[in-house]
């Protein structure tokens, strides 16, 4: 049991930075645990299925502290931010392993991805992450849509139903967020 969970959620609601970090850490640990377990089950190279991981993390948390969670929309907001961290960390680790000759990675077109490509991918993602942090300071819901869609693979319909808004609204947030990011990342666009 992790009885402190309810506290960070509510404190994070109130905007306390430290509490928010505690929540972040808890979620991060949970999600990594789930991801490892999933990999152990289906073997390496399998799709991580970010959406189902998140759902399961939610179910786990809700089960542990059923009264503590304000609502699912907020949960997914935090969790998606965490997932972004996981993806970027994952890329960074991959890069490190690749340099050490540990792992082979296959890209979309089936060609092996070189260490250089990986390094630049990781860098791009980090830049994207920083830009998203800036955007989150201005318009958090825009950054969240990117986290949920790009980093977690949720569909517009799912995001809309989490938030209780129309798909059209999510679509507009998505368009707007991409405009912001494209503007601020300039020529260095990830895929």
């Amino acid at each position: 049991m992790e009885p402190y969970l309810s506290t960070p959620v509510h404190a994070a609601e109130a905007g306390a930075v430290q509490a928010s970090e505690a929540l972040f850490a808890t979620l991060y640990r949970d999600l990594r645990g789930l991801a490892r377990r999933e990999l152990a089950r289906v073997g390496p190279g399998a799709a991580l299925g970010a959406t189902s991981l998140l759902h399961e993390a939610y179910l786990n948390l809700a089960e542990r502290e059923s009264m503590a969670f304000p609502d699912r929309a907020r949960f997914f907001g935090y969790a998606a931010r965490v997932m972004r961290g996981l993806v970027i960390d994952g890329l960074r680790r991959r890069h490190a392993q690749k340099r050490g000759g540990g792992l082979e990675i296959t890209s979309l077109d089936g060609k092996e991805v070189g260490a250089e490509a990986l390094a630049s991918q990781a860098e791009e993602m980090e830049r994207l992450g920083r830009a998203l942090d800036e955007l989150a300071a201005l318009e958090p819901e825009l950054a969240q849509v990117v986290d949920l869609k790009f980093f977690c693979g949720f569909t517009f319909a799912e995001i809309a139903s989490h938030r209780g808004v129309t798909e059209r609204t999510v679509q507009r947030h998505w368009d707007k967020a991409r405009i912001y990011l494209r503007r601020n990342l300039g020529a260095e666009l990830p895929a």
Partner: protein
């Protein structure tokens, strides 16, 4: 961009993104007087937005970067992408390989730019694609599949054509004019066939007209230009759709495509004229008249092309060499080629290439007729007009291009009028027949009389025999009677008797009427009856044909189109194809709300259909709202004891039980069962569904004895009525097996589950989660029987099929989590706790 300037721009950007480009311009102009720096920022941002449309910025899933296998992203329908064939403005084309080892292995998969479609276009895209998929002709590359992938990527799967563009094919073989014209006639026959199905191509150019190695013409991309047009909601094409890239090729475009007038069959006549010109003289009609794209567009609008006979015989010395080459490729000399073209072929090409659509050939068939006449050395029908001797540059300003659409509009009105009159005549006849029969048989229909009557059966049988025996000489009357009897049987739940009658009716309609509203009606009824009998593929085929016919004859918003959309949705639902089902249900509901109003029982049926589907997809809140609305409408319109009210009640109870309010669900299910027993008679198979619903809730409430009794009763009712291998029977069996497992009677559950799995293998799609549930339950049963290895295989199979959905209370989510628990239980019982660990809830 600084945070401050973004914050200033943001609220304006929200508005601008919802505007059309004209509205945007106006808004920005207005703002300009107040704050020019802000306007500059906004223009920059909008520009970013425009550039995003052609890119895939952030559209790929970040998970892919982590090396997750790309296969699921590379699978579209039954096809997996193998190799990129080409890329263009509309998207990319891939060579696809069928994944299920089907012998027609390869296909071309087109991934269309989602930006061209827009979020509202997806339903329309699917509907249009369904129509295109029915377009079958030996010279048209068949559309095999179309859809939108889970990642939101619209795609088309087309017959893969290996070959080369028609002009290259002809040139490489130095085909003479006769051979070229014969090939051209193949092209024209394909286009004419499409036109008779009300599909235009609108982008006829050599790269879309391929010739296979065997020398057969194949047209690609039929109807796709139309598929990609935006919503027709705002009338004419807006500047925005132009920005998004209208799908045509300037060198081959008709004037009305450039001015944004309506595209019609006349557009394809022009396209064929351009193609013919190219085949005859080796260049496009407008080639050499223009340098810049703008000049090219202007030339298409204003400049009469050279006559073919002039085009191959240039007086200019520097072009003589080229003329000689062109003639050589046609197995002749420039002078002979000029003479062959002069006269009839000049006239034919000129008439096809008229700037005004109404001055062109009235149809592709008419153009083909003249080409055939030329080949047979008969006089052609087109009259040579005052075709200008030299190109008249800027001679006529083309102001009235919009008048172009008159041709197609008039043709459509004429067609509709013709069938309208016929429909009225037929309807009067059908009314007479049905009133006669209805009088005779009215007590047969439980929905009319309120109660079933045993004597009805014999009456119906006598009626059916009489129709088959006595009415052979009156096909139309006979067809009406067959239809009516079939429908009555079907409504009584005896689809076995209904199907042969309705098949006869369809056969008669096909023979005596051909494509017609009557045939559509027959196909619709047949599809419904086939669906009842779980012959789902046959049902789908019949219903899709019915839908196409009804849309064609009645327009897109007729209530009857709603009926077929609705039935088609149910068929897809039964097949577990939720996406297609949703599209059809939404279409049906939209049509009915508009045509019939919300307080109508058919509208309520559509609400229920969509509600149930959304429930299955995990959107329970939306589902419950729709189902409540449906119940209210049914209570008000049909009355509290009507079978439809019972159905609505049961549907709502299902979501209520899923939400966890079992007590409320139990009383609603009881009421629904009582209604259906009272109104349909105690033997109606629909009662079995109510019984299993009620049993499901009772089991969860621990009332196992009553649950077991109800399940057994339901099975006893369903098996003889539906046949032992009906999917509904498998659901009953799974329900009873669950009760047995709760009672600790694994050996009783096992045979039920095995039989259920057999039925499901035959009727559900391979990935249906309900199969996963049955696998999982069987695995559980075998664990309890201590047959661990078998149990492990089954539970693993189950975990492939069961997924955790966004809704933690959804049946599938619960089953997926239960499957994990069953795996953990298996390994513990097996004495392998270390393998159990991954399946235990995370602590």
């Amino acid at each position: 961009m600084t945070p401050e300037s973004w914050q200033r721009a943001s609220p304006h950007l929200d508005r601008l993104l919802e505007f059309s480009s004209i509205e945007r311009r106006r808004y920005l102009q207005h703002l300009l007087t107040e704050d020019s720096a802000l306007v500059a920022d906004l223009e920059g941002l909008l520009d970013e937005g425009r550039q995003l449309q052609g890119e895939r910025f952030l559209e790929q899933d970040a998970q892919e970067l982590l090396g997750a296998p790309a296969t699921e992203r590379r699978v579209f329908g039954a096809y997996e992408l193998e190799q990129l064939l080409g890329e263009g403005g509309m998207g990319s084309v891939w060579l696809g390989q069928r994944r299920d080892g089907h012998f027609e292995g390869r296909a071309a998969v087109k991934l269309l730019s989602a930006a061209l479609l827009g979020p509202s276009g997806i339903t329309r895209f699917r509907r249009e694609a369904t129509i295109l998929a029915r377009l079958q002709h030996p010279h048209i590359a068949q559309l095999l599949d179309a859809g939108v992938s889970p990642a939101g990527q619209p795609f088309l799967v087309l017959e893969f054509v290996e070959g080369e563009p028609i002009d290259q094919w002809c040139d490489r073989r130095s085909l003479d004019l006769r051979a070229r014209l014969s090939l051209f006639l193949e092209v024209a026959s394909a286009v004419a066939h499409a036109h008779s199905n009300l599909v235009v191509h609108a982008d006829l150019k050599p790269s879309n007209v391929m010739v296979s190695r065997e020398g057969r013409v194949k047209l690609l991309d039929f109807g796709i230009a139309k598929l990609l047009e935006g919503d027709a909601r705002d009338g004419g094409p807006s500047a925005l759709t132009l920005e998004a890239g209208r799908a045509f090729t300037p060198s081959f475009a008709a004037p009305e495509q450039i001015t944004g007038g309506n595209v019609s069959t006349a557009t394809d006549v022009y396209g064929l004229g351009s193609l013919l010109y190219l085949l005859l003289v080796g260049r496009y009609p407008t080639e050499g008249l223009a340098g810049t794209p703008r000049e090219l567009l202007q030339a298409v609008l204003e400049t009469e092309p050279d006559r073919p006979s002039e085009a191959v015989h240039s007086p200019r010395a520097e072009e003589r060499e080229q003329s000689a080459e062109i003639a050589r490729r046609r197995g002749t000399t420039p002078e002979r080629l000029r003479r062959a073209l002069r006269g009839d072929l000049d006239t034919i090409v000129a008439k096809a290439l008229k700037k005004k659509p109404e001055e062109r050939y009235g149809s592709v068939a008419a153009l083909a007729e003249d080409v055939s006449r030329y080949l047979e050395q008969k006089p052609i029908l087109a009259r040579p007009d005052s075709f200008p001797y030299k190109a008249r540059k800027f001679a006529r300003r083309h102001l009235r291009s919009l008048a172009a659409l008159a041709t197609l509009a008039l043709a459509l009105v004429a067609v509709a009028g013709f069938y309208g009159a016929r429909l009225r005549r037929e309807r009067a006849r059908a009314d007479r027949v049905s009133s006669f029969l209805t009088e005779l048989l009215s007590q047969a229909d439980p929905f009319v009389a309120g109660q079933g009557e045993p004597t009805v059966k014999s009456l119906l049988a006598a009626g059916a025999a009489r129709v088959r025996k006595d009415l052979a000489g009156e096909p139309e009357f006979r067809r009406d009677m067959l239809t009516l009897l079939g429908r009555i049987y079907e409504r009584r739940g005896d689809s076995g008797a209904a199907v042969p009658l309705l098949e006869d009716a369809v056969g008669l309609a096909r023979k005596t009427l051909g494509p017609s509203p009557e045939l559509a009606q027959g196909l619709n009824d047949l599809g419904v009856a086939l669906g009842q009998r779980a012959e789902l593929e046959a049902a789908r085929t019949a219903l899709e044909e019915a839908l196409t016919l009804r849309q064609r004859f009645l327009g897109l918003e007729d209530p009857l189109v709603g009926v077929t959309e609705s039935e088609l949705g149910r068929t897809f639902l039964d097949q577990g194809r939720l996406e297609e089902a949703e599209a059809h249900f939404r279409a049906a509901l939209a049509i009915r709300r508009k045509a019939l109003g919300s307080a109508h029982h058919e509208t309520a049926t559509s609400m229920s259909d969509l509600g149930l589907l959304l429930r299955q997809k995990g959107d329970r809140a939306a589902a419950e709202a729709l189902l409540r609305e449906a119940l209210q409408v049914n209570r008000a319109v049909a009355g509290p004891r009507h079978p439809d009210t019972g159905t609505a009640l049961a549907n709502l109870a299902l979501t209520v039980s899923e939400r966890g309010d079992l007590k409320a669900a139990e009383s609603m299910f009881r009421e629904a069962l009582a209604i259906s027993q009272a109104s349909l008679g105690r033997d109606h198979p629909d009662n079995a569904v109510r019984m299993s619903n009620l049993a499901f809730v009772l089991r969860q409430r621990g009332k196992l004895a009553e649950a077991e009794a109800l399940c057994r009763q339901g099975l006893a009712l369903a098996r003889p009525a539906l046949g032992p291998d009906h999917p509904a029977v498998s659901r009953q069996e799974v329900g009873l097996a669950r009760v047995y497992l709760d009672q600790g009677r694994a050996e009783a559950a096992e045979p039920l589950l095995r039989h259920a799995l057999e039925i499901q293998a035959a009727s559900y799609v391979r990935t249906d989660w309900r199969r996963g549930a049955a696998f999982s339950l069987l695995g559980d049963a075998l664990t309890r029987e201590r047959r661990f290895a078998e149990a492990e295989a089954l539970l693993e199979q189950a975990s492939e099929l069961l997924h955790v959905l966004p809704d933690p209370d959804a049946f599938q989510t619960r089953e997926a989590l239960a499957n994990r628990a069953r795996l953990a239980a298996l390994y513990r019982a097996w004495g392998r706790p270390e393998k159990a660990a991954p399946y235990l809830p995370l602590r």
